[in-house]
């Protein structure tokens, strides 16, 4: 049995959007180094329930706990999804922390992501960007052509695939000093522009999505690359360049 760990947690508590938030200190003991960060929070919540001293448990978003749904968030010790690279918070394990360490836990902080409660934020601005044009306008009923009638070169298909792996978690926005959503938007724009099926609407799509992103209050990109560094899926900032190119193209050609 490995040595169990103890931590001091400073966790952001906030009743709702309007109320003021604050850090509250908690102690957790006997945490297995193999447990995930969220499992540690489960344990803490259990403790809060048993103590009955607080009126509610700590709210945080999560669902798949496998790094794929994009639901979990958390800013841990000043980093989106915590220390370690290419992972989401649900994939972060306590073996990455030192015994006795103080850990700061905050929500994503960005105006377009208003806080709902404690560590839970509202990321529906991402949905609205997709609604503005993040799709190929094909009817889902009726007949389409055979899938193999649209051959796609492997390198293009792979590049589109890499862009498509974005899980919509918002870490890119949380990590960016400008609160830019360029990485997220460029991933979707690139996926479709790289595929023959998506080429027809490419101009309209990029203009609508970029405009919507601005309207939602996300900042601009100044090439700091913090987004790429914290993106759990390793989406490259090359796609931002690709999107900028698409955007300019859409006016000129």
């Amino acid at each position: 049995m490995k040595k169990l760990l103890n931590f001091k947690l400073k966790i952001w508590r906030q009743e709702n959007k309007k109320e003021k938030g604050y850090f509250k200190t908690y102690q957790v003991h006997d945490i297995s180094p193999n447990s995930s960060f969220l499992e540690m929070l489960d344990l803490l919540n259990n403790q809060i329930i048993c103590d009955k001293k607080e009126s509610s448990t700590i709210a945080f978003d999560h669902d798949c706990r496998e790094g794929i749904c994009g639901m979990c968030s958390l800013y841990i010790n000043g980093r989106a999804h915590g220390p370690d690279n290419l992972i989401t918070t649900c994939q972060l394990h306590m073996r990455h922390f030192r015994d006795g360490e103080t850990i700061y836990v905050e929500p994503w902080r960005a105006n377009p992501f208003p806080i709902i409660k404690d560590l839970v934020v509202d990321r529906s601005s991402f949905d609205r960007i997709i609604i503005s044009g993040g799709f190929i306008s094909v009817n889902t009923l009726g007949k389409t052509i055979d899938g193999n009638m649209i051959p796609i070169p492997k390198d293009k298909a792979d590049k589109a695939f890499d862009a498509a792996t974005c899980i919509g978690c918002g870490a890119c926005v949380a990590a960016c000093k400008n609160r830019s959503a360029m990485l997220f938007v460029s991933a979707k724009v690139s996926q479709f522009s790289l595929l023959p099926q998506g080429k027809i609407e490419r101009k309209k799509r990029v203009i609508n999505m970029v405009n919507k992103m601005d309207e939602e209050g996300f900042g601009s990109c100044t090439n700091t690359k913090a987004c790429e560094a914290e993106c759990p899926k390793g989406i490259s900032t090359e796609y931002i360049a690709f999107m900028n190119n698409e955007y300019i193209r859409s006016f000129t050609i």
Partner: protein, 677 residues
């Protein structure tokens, strides 16, 4: 428990099987386009099944109200599916056909699924791929630009289309995009962070739902001309499973308690390749895709001593020579080897561990190796030949081999390493079976309508297509077939009858009052209960009972005991659960969980009753009393070739539920005993 089969009309059309769906479609009534915009449809759940239904229905012009408890449809549990989606396209020229896919699925389900439904699924499978390609799903491609496929357990052809290990994600995101387009047009109204808490039935037909806004805590009333349930499976009854944390049974359970019949509740699929349980802090289990079994070989040591040294860490798997390893699947099932179906592979692992050969250092000593060493060697040699390297060193070969494995399964190996802190390229993975998928669900007829008129059920939430065991890569196929291509036709038949009477339903109807009051009373009861234990405490205990007695194998004594234990636990829950928070006061994850666990505590009992009733072994349901000399499942077609269908009666207890039978007739396939030797 009385039994009869009078009540059920499956509405399977007559005629030969390959014309049933075509003929049936031509008899279905239509709703004209100008009427569709006056018709409202509620869809509960926006995974692959619900999402595709929303997209297709709104494209036809209906007004759709979609509900999900996550913050966006893009996060539904379907997103986690790894391996792939089946379709009988025969692109590889390995003689695949609609019939082959149909046959494999029926056989895989151990002859406990509805023949006509399965045939329709196989027929539609190829449209799904075309549809998804058109929507921009980046499926894997070969160098010529054509679609790639791979193999899954229980089949001998390569028909599984995939997008690396993220097929579910890519399919769900394309559904979500299609929905988003319709949301933009105003045809879908999306209710994120909403949970359905009751079905409202007026004059015998489904007319709406009661939902809780999870952010504000408000209880809302929603009306519609039809309600579609696409709320996924109920594997989380077992607490630990591969399902997303939020996956639950509440929607289907509420429908059941309003009179919707529940079919085959005991059929739970156990997936053989998951990361073993480690400690009691663990909240869920992680799947390692079945596709790994294409290249990984499964073994435990032959000698008990070796197993013990493996567990206490004094010996490493690398120290055990080939002769001292027991590749038990290859030994027992030479023709399918490591690619036997999931139920077979799972039971074989359990058998070895029970005999003491488990290799994991956890409390239960349960775990077996999934070893890529042979594959790395083989691919390394091939690659060296290809590159013209003469006499490559072992290290060179290994590096080349690892590169090949990485290109095939890279993200899964990454995930394994993150969780276990061990490098699966260098040392074999440790795996053990875990709860994965539920084949049972609400009973539906051929039109996917439940026993409540106007209430349809699609995807994992219904029961019809997979029988006693689901083959890999067929759940995604079923969800999309139901949502994109079946339900939009069959529901029109029902709705066409409502056009004449389509006065708007009022939310003031007394049935809404009644339902809302029930929902509110229950929430109050949970929040004001003067208990001291957390919801998770009860959920874990339920999970233990279920895993022990209603898990991979079952017997009469265990099941009878389990029923009693669940009843006691349920009483204790209502006496002793503590849920913090106030009524109507915002986000409260504990309250959400409490409602769901309360439902699991009832459903668990029904699952156990169903398992007790089925005195045979078939598919994922293994009754120890009914096995062959070699320890294989022994089915009883004479007495149990039926779907067990349970009815709840208002104000009665679960143990008073009545069971009906839908007899299964196979006219197109010959029912055989299932052998993978």
């Amino acid at each position: 428990m009385t039994k009869n089969s009078l009540k059920l009309n499956s509405k399977v059309p007559s005629g030969t099987i390959n014309y049933k769906w075509e003929n049936h479609k031509s008899t279905l009534k239509l709703v004209s386009p100008n009427n569709r915009s006056n018709i409202e449809i509620i869809v509960v759940g926006t995974g692959l099944a619900g999402g595709s239904a929303c997209a297709s229905l709104s494209e036809l012009g209906y007004q759709v109200k979609a509900f999900c408890y996550q913050d966006s449809p893009r996060r539904a549990h379907s997103v986690a599916a790894q391996g792939g989606i089946n379709a009988s396209k025969n692109y590889k020229g390995d003689n695949d056909s609609i019939y082959q896919l149909f046959y494999d699925t029926i056989k895989g389900g151990d002859y406990r699924s509805r023949e006509a439904n399965v045939y329709r699924l196989a027929e539609i499978s190829s449209n799904i791929i075309d549809q998804c390609v058109a929507q921009g799903v980046p499926f894997a491609r070969d160098y010529a630009g054509y679609l790639e496929t791979r193999s899954f357990g229980g089949t001998k052809v390569s028909r599984t289309f995939y997008a690396k290990g993220q097929t579910g994600q890519q399919l769900l995101l394309s559904c979500y995009s299609a929905m988003s387009r319709q949301i933009g047009k105003g045809r879908i109204k999306m209710y994120n962070r909403h949970e359905m808490l009751d079905l409202v039935i007026i004059e015998g037909v489904a007319r709406g739902i009661i939902a809780r806004n999870l952010i504000s805590g408000e209880i809302e009333r929603h009306t519609a001309n039809a309600v579609i349930i696409a709320s996924g499976g109920y594997g989380n009854v077992f607490f630990l499973s591969t399902n997303a944390m939020g996956s639950n049974a509440s929607a289907i359970w509420k429908v059941h308690k309003k009179g919707g019949l529940f079919a085959n509740p005991c059929y739970t699929q156990i997936h053989p390749t998951c990361i073993p349980v480690h400690g009691n802090y663990q909240s869920k289990l992680t799947l390692m895709s079945e596709s790994l079994r294409n290249d990984g070989r499964i073994w435990v040591p032959k000698k008990l001593d070796d197993a013990i040294s493996m567990r206490n860490g004094t010996k490493k798997p690398e120290n055990i020579s080939e002769e001292e390893r027991d590749y038990y699947l290859e030994r027992r099932y030479p023709s399918y080897g490591n690619l036997v179906p999931r139920d077979v592979a799972s039971r074989a692992a359990k058998e070895r561990c029970e005999k003491g050969f488990g290799i994991e250092e956890n409390e239960t000593k349960e775990g077996v190796f999934l070893d890529f060493h042979s594959a790395i060697n083989k691919y390394g040699k091939e690659k060296a030949n290809e590159l013209g390297i003469i006499n490559p060193s072992d290290l060179e070969k290994m590096n080349l081999g690892e590169e090949v494995i990485e290109s095939k399964y890279g993200n899964l190996f990454h995930m394994y390493e993150k969780i276990t802190n061990q490098n699966p390229y260098k040392t074999p993975m440790k795996i053990y079976p875990a709860v994965h998928y539920t084949m049972g669900g609400l009973w539906v007829d051929y039109n996917l309508m439940s026993s409540i008129p106007g209430c349809y059920v699609i995807g994992e939430a219904n029961f019809s297509d997979h029988g006693a065991n689901r083959l890999g890569a067929s759940a995604l196929m079923q969800g999309l077939a139901d949502g994109y291509f079946i339900l939009p036709y069959t529901i029109a038949d029902y709705l066409s009858r409502y056009i004449r009477v389509s006065k708007k339903i009022s939310t003031q109807h007394e049935e809404f009052d009644k339902s809302e009051k029930n929902v509110k009373d229950r929430i109050k009861k949970l929040l004001q209960n003067n208990g001291s234990m957390s919801v998770d405490y009860f959920h874990k205990r339920l999970g233990n009972i279920m895993w022990e007695h209603v898990g991979m194998s079952r017997n009469h004594v265990g099941l009878s005991e389990a029923i009693k234990s669940i009843q006691l636990l349920r009483d204790e829950f209502w006496k002793n659960v503590f849920v913090p928070g106030k009524i109507d006061n915002g986000l409260n994850a504990e309250l959400e969980k409490a409602g769901r666990v309360a439902d699991f505590l009832e459903l668990g009992e029904l699952m156990t009753m169903d398992a007790l009733n089925r005195k045979e072994s078939c598919g994922s349901h293994f009754r120890e009393e009914y096995q062959t000399k070699e320890g294989e499942a022994l089915r009883d077609d004479i007495h149990y070739k039926y779907v067990s269908v349970w009815e709840y009666k208002e104000n009665m207890s679960i143990s008073d539920e009545i069971m009906y039978k839908e007899n299964l007739n196979y006219t197109f396939v010959k029912v055989q005993s299932r052998s993978y030797k």
